[in-house]
């Protein structure tokens, strides 16, 4: 066997490893129900903000606490806790993606991504 063959085998093994690791580490888009069943795992939850319920951010008291209620795509609602200031333009977001895990009675979000209708100024008709 030539050295190059050994190299090729190692190469293939590493590539398979890279693919497996991608799926091993990957999170999935799920709803709150699945997140509640597996509180040890981190999930991406896509949903909309419940504008009826309070959205609390009181920096004078705690600059690192923002709470709100999100309704996921299956219609399940949960309280969400985010340890950072309220993201800009949060109330105008069309869709919210939160990344984190379920705790007792709330979802701990480590990251929030917003889908704003206006983000790249698409689709608005000019006023006039």
């Amino acid at each position: 066997m030539k050295k190059i063959h050994i190299v090729v085998i190692v190469l293939i093994a590493l590539s398979i490893g890279a693919i497996l690791s991608t799926y091993g580490d990957a999170s999935t888009y799920e709803g709150f129900r699945v997140a509640a069943e597996n509180p040890e795992k981190e999930y991406h939850v896509v949903g909309v903000l419940n504008k009826e319920k309070p959205r609390l951010y009181n920096p004078q008291e705690n600059a690192n606490l923002f709470t709100f209620y999100l309704i996921d795509e299956k219609g399940v609602e949960s309280k969400v806790v985010y340890n950072a200031p309220e993201p800009a333009d949060f109330e105008r977001s069309e869709k919210v993606v939160i990344i984190g895990q379920m705790r007792e009675g709330y979802f701990q979000a480590n990251k929030i991504l917003l889908k704003c209708p206006s983000k790249y100024n698409e689709g608005q008709a000019p006023k006039g």
């Binding site: 030539k2 050295k3 190059i4 190299v7 190469l11 590493l14 590539s15 890279a18 693919i19 690791s21 991608t22 799926y23 580490d25 990957a26 999170s27 999935t28 888009y29 799920e30 981190e42 999930y43 991406h44 896509v46 951010y57 920096p59 004078q60 008291e61 705690n62 600059a63 690192n64 606490l65 806790v81 340890n83 950072a84 200031p85 309220e86 800009a88 333009d89 949060f90 105008r92 993606v97 990344i99 984190g100 705790r103 701990q108 480590n110 990251k111 991504l113 889908k115 704003c116 206006s118 983000k119 790249y120 100024n121 698409e122 689709g123 608005q124 008709a125 000019p126 006039g128």
Partner: protein
């Protein structure tokens, strides 16, 4: 229905623009076909002439498109969708240039422009390869210019025109009015995140990098086409190096822009859009190394060709990823979907098929070696290093492609929730291998080696062990992977410097690879130290009991800072001093005082992180960074109150005579004199008396003047208050007391409880090594390009 005659539109610009797009598309087709025939019929010179004429017409047409698009933006012709969507009247000229490539159409145009520039260079330098290489470039131009056509053909919209009229692009009742244009006063404006100096130069650099990858690809195709498997290396090699240099510079410029103007706190976020341009760069570096192996030893041609062709195909793949909308939730900064995914896929597969077909056709004829490789040579380890680079690229590619996998298989995978950990676990060991291999490879010679090489490899390793142990303590590295990477990088530096020494006098142009490798190793050290020892210093230090219901381990990285109330944060005392407005941005002045031992202030500086309250995007924060040689202090404002309080509180009235002093919470005030001859009073009518108290207001920050006034009109008192913004004080002249010969001055303090910022601050140690390493790497590439260009010139003359 009658056609409405719209008023005030400047249709000539768009019509000329459309015409130029059509001509550029048509000439691209003609040129491709003509170059194809010219290549296959070398006896007939007429094909070459037609091709050249078509190419020059194409060049002029492309310049015409650019000129027209720029005029539309520059003249604020908002009847055009592109101008309306991406620009506004208040933008400075340099940002109008950025508007040009904010949209997809403009960035395609930029790419097309670079291909035209490259085509003009190739026409003069490619010599006997001219026709084949140009045919490939022009084939790509057909695909690219088709993206700008924007005409429906058989129900399918081909491309998206930058000259589309607003009234055709967007629906609205307003377009039923003939004078609609007079009601559109301004455009949508440029995305505030792109209003940055780096956004003016980063996109052209990156696109030049993308554009140059076609040249080695075209030479590889041409070599298969002509069955000349050796001759393509010399002309293609300088282009490959130029591409590595420019693309690398473009990527790191993007990182620098992110660091300077985005608030995620860093220069690299493993965002799919960043990854999409990193992958072809890594593959290209691997490809260039294998090309050099083939040039020197005659081995590994097939791998080299595959890597070089894969680079260009990966650039097309990156284009598909970022422009088809497929990244969706996975990336924060991909382009808007223009419904061109189908066309982009055709573009991608057209070239994938071309590359595969050409390789398959010549597969049997390609030279390959049958004997086993000698492991004690430079080419062996260079080859291994290239494969490690390819694995590194593949790993990034695999994770970045998750949205594509979801699309094909209908799965719902999301990116890893901790992307940094995911990438680190692969990229760090690979980086260690690559850094060590750059050293080993350089200390070995091609083909055969003596014991001397092994001795110097081991000697340098010993030196590197000593130095990296020192570095480990100096940079306080605790993780063993970090220590390993530090050793590898230090080894790369030592070995490359040792290998460079013989060339330093007289043969400077031979040192390109050494210099580039040293730069790369310094870059690695910079990345390692600045991220391993990155320190968020704005941790919650309020001492307030946090709600126990919530996660105690969650990071509390934002600090609440009330104006005028200093706070201790890490080794700094910080104070929010106030804000000011410039153009559309609000600047928040934050004073940092570095506190040393026994609480002495060592030095102080001000940072002005700014925020734009954008009507469309809310608060858009821009950080400000204090740069020191050994570290950066990075600060951004993450939240500000929606409305500031304008109340004044703690009113207190003082009876004073001229010369008297009033003490305030932040200094003192002296009544200098009482002025009964007030000039400003001329426009205030019917006053029987007007006197002003002239006050000198002294605070820690400065001395200000205030003159509250007191008057009588129709037997009633009138008071004119005076506010000193900087001192946050309000003065009122309350009255005169003839008995005691004093006047009453009321002093009130501004209510600052609603004047605060929420900010985050990060210290990045030794981040300058990242930029320094990059610059050294670029110098190395320049030297290498110089050397390979001279080699090419020599063969071209011979």
């Amino acid at each position: 229905m009658n056609e409405i005659q719209f008023i005030g539109e400047h249709l000539i610009y768009g019509n000329l623009g459309h015409l130029a797009v059509t001509i550029s598309f048509g000439t691209a087709i003609i040129a491709t076909i003509a170059y194809l025939f010219a290549a296959n019929n070398p006896q007939q010179t007429s094909w070459g002439k037609i091709a050249t004429a078509a190419f020059y017409t194409h060049t002029v047409a492309v310049l015409g498109i650019i000129f027209m698009l720029f005029l539309i933006i520059r003249l604020h012709l908002f009847e055009y969708h592109y101008a309306w969507q991406h620009s506004s009247t208040d933008l400075p000229l340099e940002y109008m240039v950025s508007c040009f490539w904010e949209g997809q159409e403009g960035s395609f145009l930029l790419w097309i422009f670079w291909h035209v520039v490259i085509g003009n260079i190739l026409l003069r330098t490619a010599k006997s390869w001219k026709f084949e290489v140009m045919a490939v470039v022009m084939l790509c131009q057909i695909a690219l210019t088709s993206m700008l056509i924007g005409v429906k053909i058989l129900g399918y919209k081909l491309g998206s025109s930058p000259f589309e009229l607003l009234r055709n692009a967007v629906e609205g009742p307003i377009f039923k009015q003939a004078n609609y244009l007079s009601k559109i006063k301004d455009g949508n404006g440029l995305n505030p995140l792109l209003q940055n100096y780096w956004m003016v130069i980063h996109p052209p650099t990156l696109f030049f990098g993308f554009a140059t990858t076609i040249v080695p690809f075209a030479y590889a195709i041409a070599s298969l086409w002509k069955r000349d498997f050796t001759g393509w290396i010399k002309p293609a090699l300088p282009w490959g190096l130029i591409s590595v240099m420019v693309l690398g510079t473009g990527i790191i410029m993007g990182g620098f822009w992110a660091y300077e103007s985005l608030s995620f706190g860093g220069y690299w976020a493993w965002d799919p859009v960043e990854n999409a341009s990193l992958v072809p760069w890594l593959i290209l570096i691997a490809g260039v190394h294998v090309m050099i192996i083939y040039k020197t030893t005659g081995n590994s041609l097939i791998v080299g060709m595959i890597l070089i062709m894969a680079t260009f195909l990966l650039v097309l793949y990156a284009t598909f990823l970022t422009r088809s909308g497929i990244l969706g939730n996975a990336s924060v900064h991909s382009f808007t979907d223009l419904g061109m995914s189908g066309q982009l896929l055709v573009f991608l597969f057209m070239f994938i098929i071309l590359a595969i077909v050409m390789l398959v056709l010549r597969w049997k004829e390609l030279p390959r070696s049958s004997k086993d490789e000698d492991a004690y040579t430079r080419e062996f380890w260079m080859f291994i290093g290239s494969l490690v680079l390819a694995i590194s690229a593949f790993q990034v590619f695999a994770t970045t492609s998750l949205p594509v996998v979801n699309k094909i298989f209908g799965t719902n995978w999301a990116p890893p929730s901790d992307v940094i950990a995911h990438y680190n676990k692969w990229q760090m060991p690979l980086a260690i291998l690559i850094a060590i291999l750059t050293g080993v490879g350089q200390l070995l010679k091609y083909k055969t080696n003596t014991r001397k090489a092994l001795i110097s490899i081991l000697t340098q390793a010993a030196v590197a062990i000593v130095l990296s142990v020192v570095a480990m303590f100096a940079f306080e590295l605790t993780n063993w992977f970090y220590v390993g990477l530090m050793f590898a990088a230090v080894y790369a530096i030592c070995a490359n410097i040792a290998a460079m020494l013989p060339y330093i006098t007289g043969k400077l142009k031979m040192t390109g690879s050494h210099v580039a490798h040293v730069g790369f190793a310094i870059l690695l050290i910079g990345v390692l130290v600045s991220s391993a020892n990155k320190r968020v210093i704005s941790n919650n230090q309020s001492g307030m009991q946090l709600n126990p219901e919530f996660d105690a381990q969650a990071n509390m990285e934002h600090v609440f800072l009330e104006r005028g109330k200093p706070l201790r944060m890490d080794q700094y005392e910080i104070e929010y001093k106030g804000d000011s407005v410039n153009w559309v941005n609000n600047y928040y002045q934050v004073r940092y005082k570095k506190i040393g031992a026994d609480n002495k202030v060592l030095y102080e500086f001000d940072l002005f992180p700014n925020a734009q309250i954008n009507p469309k995007m809310g608060l858009v924060a821009n950080p400000d960074t204090k740069h020191y040689i050994s570290h950066d202090v990075f600060t951004y404002v993450s939240s500000v109150p929606k409305e500031k309080s304008t109340k004044f509180v703690h009113e207190k009235t003082h009876e004073v005579k001229p010369g008297d002093t009033i003490y305030t919470n932040n200094g003192y005030v002296i009544l200098e004199r009482v002025n009964s001859n007030v000039k400003e009073a001329t426009d205030i009518k019917n006053l029987s008396l007007l006197i002003a108290a002239e006050l000198k207001v002294v605070t820690l920050d400065g001395v200000y003047q205030a003159s509250p006034m007191y008057g009588i009109r129709d037997n009633a008192e009138v008071k004119f208050e005076s506010i000193v913004e900087e001192a946050k004080l309000r003065f009122r002249f309350m009255g005169v007391n003839p008995q005691t010969q004093t006047i009453s001055i009321e002093v009130a303090e501004q209510d600052t409880s609603g004047d605060y910022i929420i900010m985050k601050a990060i210290v990045f140690p030794w981040i300058n090594l990242v930029w320094a390493g990059t610059i050294i790497m670029i110098v190395g590439f320049l030297l290498a390009i110089w050397r390979r260009l001279q080699e090419y010139k020599r063969t071209a003359e011979a």
